[in-house]
């Protein structure tokens, strides 16, 4: 009986909400009828077509079927950069996050900040380095606890990009299967986009499924977005401009970059970069109506 009623309601496009107003409309007779009685055939109330049992006020507390499958929002963790956390709400656990951008756009800076934040939380992290590009000095300077970072250097023994890619994907599979990591970074930043695009979409779906319902943040660093709809968060970093390079000259500590009379090269010191980040896609609750953009600064190790 119940299924018939629900299907009728669904066919008519009505919501499964039994509030008092609807009851008044569909149930003019007094309530208090026994629920789901088999002995008595359902009595029709007026011309509504609804059987009597579903006119009971006790059904008002039943959660609508359409609301049952609502997925709980993933836990968000800090990316280590306050401005980025304000933009994205953090990095979601159990989801795939993509950071894409060209060279010198700040991808590694963001990656190391996320790693530093994760090791600060006493989590263990792994970096699957497709092109063996991680700089140990930068890692240490970023404040990452080295004992908590597993570095897998792919591509050393492989002479072909395909072989390297195969290594990266197999290592990622193994680490996701092993579990227990708070953050796994898949660094494809130096792979040419045409090579990175050879990763089948099914692989990204597999990664997404593997990381789902785990406390692991899976972070992919790449030049262009390649995971498609598998990523829950897509952050795009922009090209740097000449004016975004911060210098510290001996004459003027805040001398602008494109000054008419630049200081000699030995008197200039690179102190940092201004990084522009754009939130392109987010499947989180705080989904933006349009892409949002922020700018934050990074500083070099020697800048103090």
């Amino acid at each position: 009986m119940s299924s018939a009623v629900f299907s009728t309601s669904a066919a008519q496009g009505r919501p499964f909400v039994f509030d008092s107003e609807n009851e008044a409309e569909v149930c003019p007779e007094p309530l208090g009828v026994e629920l789901f009685t088999e002995a008595r055939p359902p009595q029709r109330a007026g011309n509504t077509g609804l059987p009597r049992p579903f006119q009971d006020s006790r059904l008002a507390g039943v959660t609508a079927a359409s609301r049952l499958a609502v997925r709980p929002a993933p836990e968000m963790v800090s990316s280590g950069i306050a401005a980025m956390d304000m933009l994205t709400g953090g990095l979601p656990r159990g989801c795939l996050t993509e950071i894409c951008g060209p060279a010198s756009s700040g991808r590694s800076t963001l990656m190391l900040s996320a790693l530093a934040a994760a090791t600060w939380r006493r989590e263990f992290c792994a970096v699957i380095d497709a092109s063996d590009a991680l700089d140990p000095q930068s890692v240490a300077s970023a404040g990452i606890e080295l004992d908590r970072l597993l570095w897998v250097r792919c591509g050393e023994n492989s002479h072909h990009a395909e072989h390297c890619l195969e290594q990266v994907l197999r290592v990622t599979d193994l680490l996701l299967e092993s579990g227990g990591f708070g953050l796994i970074v898949l660094d494809l930043g130096d792979l040419p986009p045409q090579t990175a695009r050879r990763i089948p979409l099914t692989t990204w779906f597999r990664f997404r499924r593997a990381v789902e319902h785990t406390p692991t943040v899976l972070l992919a660093v790449e030049r262009q977005s390649i995971a498609g709809s598998c990523s829950s968060l897509l952050i795009k970093l922009g090209l740097i401009k000449l004016g975004s390079i911060k210098l510290n000259t001996s004459e003027n500590p805040e001398r602008p970059m494109n000054s008419q009379f630049p200081a000699p090269t030995h008197a200039q010191l690179l102190t940092g970069l201004e990084i522009t980040a754009e939130l392109v896609r987010s499947r989180m609750e705080r989904k933006p109506v349009r892409s949002a953009e922020i700018t934050f600064a990074s500083k070099t190790v020697w800048a103090g």
Binding site: R121, Q137, L146, V171, G180, T265, H266, L270, L273
Partner: protein, 563 residues
């Protein structure tokens, strides 16, 4: 004071059954001696039923097609004996190593720990079976009665105090002639033992001629008359038969040596059958370790290889690093090759970050290691040793962040190492140098990290990094550095062309430097270089690179990009 005894009947056969459990249902005979004078040394019950007896020649025994012949293996017997002692020591700290096939336990005070005496006896029997030993267990109020009962009755026997004579009475008088029972009872020299054995045989022969066939008849003889005819030894035998002897145990100090070995009749050339045998050895060792409540942190595998004729067998081995020059990350498995006489040995050492006890995990790790480092010659003997270690005692916390499981992680790391190379997976360790690439890889050990700073783990307020800390501009390295062609105008960098990486070339928009550094001039690997930070106008846009001029080698290199 209760005592228990575990006795393993036909010990050489039991040792073979422990190594090859599939033979238990077959008729098996063990032979020994130098060819062609090999003789049957021991047989199991099935072999006895088809007429095989000890002292038959091997040639005679081979005529029986149903019979399975195995050579006597001292290594297997020693492993079975060690397992027997481990089994006994898991129930009592006071154990006497009475013979290779007999162990006596002092059970005084053990009832409060392990239950009643029958429970202890049954658990002892079950534990021995788990270790691959089919033994008889007997519990009595004195050690000798326990030994006689274990030798005479199969399964588990409990003799109530005061009923020793009655229980042992039905046993044949031959149980007194057991050599093992007498071997360690009195510590005498070998010649004395031989004399004693000869005297005992003569006494038993005399008793047999008197018509004394069982212990009940011996116990019933008048003591004074027996003493007049057979002397003190006769009286001692009677006391044994009556179950009224009393002595203290000589406790054994069991060395923590966990070794198992298999000698192969036919050389193994494939990894799969080797893995099958390794699995068996690992299960035996792990069962022994478990019985002593121990784990292991180091496994040593020694493979004796067949000496290939014609040439040095070392040439057949793959390139593996020796223990001395192994990098820290490679110390997980170290290899040694050495030739002793005509035998060549191949050794692998598997070091684990934490004490573990999982034979399946160990097997997989050994398989991965042997896959990466094959021995290079047929294997004729396998020897496996485990270094015992106390199990780790780590208490988890409800609010601690997730940590990789040590067992799963070790296997994962071994698999990754097989994919990318041993030296390409692990943790970073910075070296005290200004040289570029001043770091080395070491093992990733989350367990050690957790144990090292347990107080920090639970420190309140350590959930988020400090907000005022700005991000550090990271450098992405090119390994190896990309050789570049640099155009200079009036000593200034103008253009950089990198043939290997098209993205890293273009006109120099901005530059800072040079920053000169040098070091290790007192060594052969001296270095001296100038570093530049440059902004290049590339096809994609502006990118920042680190340019290096090698002052000693004389070349320009793009070392990395600021990202």
């Amino acid at each position: 004071m209760p005592y228990a005894c575990i006795f393993v009947p036909v010990f050489p056969v039991a040792a073979v059954f422990r190594a090859e459990p599939e033979l238990r249902a077959l008729a098996v005979a063990i032979f020994e001696g130098k060819p062609p004078l090999e003789k049957v040394f021991a047989v199991n019950e099935s072999a006895g039923r088809i007429g095989i007896t000890p002292a038959m020649t091997k040639a005679q025994a081979e005529l029986c097609s149903e019979l399975t012949l195995r050579p006597r293996s001292p290594m297997q017997e020693s492993g079975a004996h060690a397992a027997l002692l481990d089994c006994a020591l898991s129930f009592s700290p006071c154990v006497e190593d009475a013979a290779a096939d007999t162990a006596i336990l002092d059970l005084a005070g053990m009832e409060s720990l392990f239950g009643s005496l029958p429970e202890i006896a049954h658990n002892l029997f079950r534990r021995a079976a788990e270790l691959g030993i089919d033994g008889n267990v007997a519990v009595a109020s004195n050690p000798d009665a326990a030994v006689l009962a274990a030798r005479g009755f199969s399964g588990v026997t409990i003799i109530s105090p005061g009923r020793e004579c009655e229980t042992l009475g039905c046993l044949p008088i031959e149980v007194l002639s057991a050599k093992g029972c007498e071997r360690n009872e009195r510590k005498r020299k070998d010649d004395n033992q031989q004399k004693e054995a000869g005297l005992l045989g003569a006494l038993l022969g005399t008793l047999d001629r008197w018509g004394v066939r069982d212990l009940q008849a011996l116990a019933a003889l008048p003591a004074i008359a027996l003493s007049e005819r057979l002397g003190q030894e006769g009286l001692r035998l009677q006391q044994l038969a009556r179950g009224r002897t009393s002595r203290t145990l000589v406790p054994v100090e069991a060395l923590p040596v966990f070794e198992e070995a298999i000698e192969l009749e036919h050389p193994i050339v494939l990894l799969e059958p080797l893995a099958f045998l390794l699995n068996r050895l690992l299960e035996q060792i792990c069962a022994r370790l478990a019985s002593r409540a121990l784990n292991t942190q180091e496994l040593r595998l020694t493979l004796e290889l067949q000496n290939l004729t014609g040439g040095n067998p070392r040439l057949d081995f793959p390139e593996t690093s020796s223990e001395s020059d192994a990098s820290p990350i490679a110390s997980q498995t170290t290899a040694q090759h050495f030739v002793s006489g005509r035998q060549t040995k191949f050794c692998r050492t598997l070091s684990l970050p934490l004490p573990l006890l999982d034979p399946k995990l160990f097997l997989k790790l050994l398989q991965l290691d042997l896959n990466a480092h094959p021995p290079g010659a047929p294997i004729i003997k396998i020897h496996l040793a485990a270094e015992p270690a106390r199990p780790r005692s780590a208490q988890g916390g409800l609010f601690l962040p997730p940590t990789p499981e040590p067992e799963k992680l070790e296997l994962t790391l071994a698999r990754i190492a097989a994919l990318v190379g041993e030296s390409h997976v692990g943790s970073l360790e910075l070296l005290d140098t200004h040289r570029a690439e001043g770091f080395r890889m070491r093992r990733f050990m989350p367990g050690a990290t957790q144990e090292r700073a347990p107080a920090l783990e639970n420190r309140p307020g350590r959930t988020e990094p400090p907000k005022d800390k700005s991000a550090v501009a990271a450098l992405r390295m090119f390994r190896p550095p990309l050789r570049a062609t640099v155009t200079l105008e009036n000593g200034q960098l103008v253009r950089v062309v990198c043939s290997k990486k098209k993205e890293a070339q273009g006109n120099v928009l901005w530059k800072a430097g040079p920053w000169r550094s040098s070091g290790d001039w007192w060594e052969r690997e001296a270095w001296s270089r100038d570093e530049w930070d440059i902004a290049l106008q590339t096809a994609e846009g502006i990118a920042l690179y680190r340019l290096v001029h090698d002052l000693l080698g004389g070349g320009w290199f793009v070392e990395g990009t600021y990202d």
